[in-house]
């Protein structure tokens, strides 16, 4: 299979679309946690209960479609190879927990990969919706529609006082986790982000790097999400998150302008060095890949690089993950082989750009 076709199949269709503020906000996500009223939560439920839930959801929702979200495909974790599950994790369609721990887990994934409903993860149902760019409000509205649609068939565990009941006390109430993925290279370069994070935390929001371990944010990609789910309405939660994200966008744009004014040559140098590395290296680790991709994307946003499509950061951050590389190679790879394969995939991807002459 050629790289072009591989990428077409590998990158979720919605991720290729442009959204509002997509120079900084890569994607918006809404996740709602729900449970069946009658069954114990997956953590302690027995085979019979969990199979019952799988059977019911497959029967009711497999191959159904909901408004524009194309057909849902019911996939049982037990039927997938471990590499296939890993690919779904790298595409953020399922959680590592579902892939590794849920023996009776499944997912209903829409054809365009915008909707993924995880089954028997920590909760019976965890529906996720993705939108490109900064579109939290729209994502919430759509998630509510899907929730209502599911509710026609499912008796949710709900309590007047506590709201939607979830396995973990951190999700009770709305069951809502709203998050945005942001590319913040200028705030990271100027170290402003580390000063902003504690302030954001105080508002009940969490900032973390989504690639990389611990607090490190590989590729300057940060995820901002709400922590509080009880006692605030979904709209208020989104409102809070939105205003913080708007502030971050503003600050990032400002920092970019200042960087450009104060150290134009150094910035341009950094961008083109990274470009050179991606275009020519023969061995490259994921950490260096992420750093260079971030620089190149910034270079595109600032107008230094003109002939490369913006989606290259989103695309290659996913494609250069271990499971994707192995799927492209069609075999298991040692870490060193991965670095070689990664470099060659990136080189090929850049060649595609030049041929297409954007």
């Amino acid at each position: 299979m050629g790289l072009e076709q591989f990428i077409n199949e590998a990158i979720s269709p919605w991720l290729k679309e442009d959204g509002p503020d997509s120079d900084i906000v890569m994607s918006s996500r809404i996740r709602l946690a729900r449970n069946f009223e009658q069954s114990p939560f997956p953590l302690i439920a027995n085979e019979e209960h969990l199979e019952g839930i799988l059977y019911f959801l497959e029967k009711e929702f497999n191959h159904r479609s909901f408004t524009q979200y194309e057909q849902l495909e019911f996939v049982r974790m037990a039927d997938l190879k471990s590499i296939e599950k890993q690919v779904l994790v790298e595409k953020h369609l399922i959680s590592p927990h579902l892939a590794e721990k849920s023996q009776y887990g499944a997912a209903l994934i829409s054809k365009n990969e915008q909707v993924s409903i995880m089954v028997n993860e920590e909760d019976h149902i965890r529906m996720q919706l993705y939108f490109p760019g900064f579109q939290l409000k729209r994502a919430l509205e759509e998630a509510f529609h899907i929730d209502d649609w599911l509710e026609q068939k499912i008796d949710y565990a709900f309590d007047e006082e506590r709201g939607y009941l979830t396995s973990c006390p951190t999700n009770v109430g709305t069951g809502l986790r709203a998050s945005v993925m942001m590319h913040l290279p200028a705030l990271a370069m100027t170290r402003k982000i580390s000063r902003m994070i504690p302030a954001i935390n105080q508002l009940g929001l969490v900032v973390r790097g989504i690639y990389g371990e611990g607090s490190e944010a590989l590729g300057n990609i940060f995820q901002i999400s709400n922590q509080v789910t009880l006692g605030r309405s979904e709209q208020d939660i989104i409102e809070d998150l939105t205003s913080v994200v708007q502030k971050l966008i503003e600050q990032e744009r400002q920092a970019r302008t200042i960087l450009k004014q104060q150290s134009e040559l150094e910035l341009e140098d950094r961008v083109f060095r990274s470009y050179g590395i991606l275009e020519h290296s023969r061995i490259i680790e994921s950490k260096e890949t992420a750093k260079c991709l971030s620089d190149v994307r910034l270079g595109i946003d600032l107008g230094y690089i003109k002939h490369i499509s913006k989606s290259i950061l989103n695309e290659l951050m996913v494609l250069t993950q271990p499971a994707f590389l192995q799927q492209y190679a069609r075999r298991m790879l040692t870490p060193h082989e991965r670095d070689v394969f990664r470099a060659s995939l990136i080189r090929e991807r850049f060649t595609l750009e030049q041929r297409e002459e954007f």
Binding site: N35, Q152, F158, E161, R162, C168, G173, T229
Partner: protein, 180 residues
Amino acid sequence: MECQECQQNPATLHFAQVINGEKKEIHVCHQCAKEKGYIPPEDESYSLHNLLSGLFQFDSDAFHTSSPHHSMEQDLQCEKCGMTYQEFTRIGKFGCATCYETFSSHLNPIFRRVHSGNTTHDGKVPKRVGADIYERKQLRNLKWKLQQLIADEAFEEAANIRDQIRQLEKNLNQKGEGDA
């Protein structure tokens, strides 16, 4: 005690698993707990889990020193899934929807800490299940008020409230029949 999985390291984590009301105790080392999925692999969820069970522990500790009903409360057990309050504080997760009622008296301090002081839901209500939630809430409030009025011997007002309650109950019953 040594880890029951690898039989090499000392067991540092102790779990109780309840399946169909049958309790099984698990004693493992941190490594095996991770491998066997007793604890989440991710750093983030692990630290969150730690933090949470820490909060619960704090709650139950405070409880042990102050409450005279110590032994009775300690045996608090969910009749639906069999989870005990002890297990809940250890795992940091509920076993089923009924656990919320069973452990209800202990939950407010936990929720307050986790959710910036909040204990009551203020958001979406399911369309089907929640259709008459508002009315039922009203009914509860009225019944409570009726008790108060009777206690205060304010019978005239009480009769008034009683009529309101009857009306609401009628409405709710009709709705119930309509659904069926």
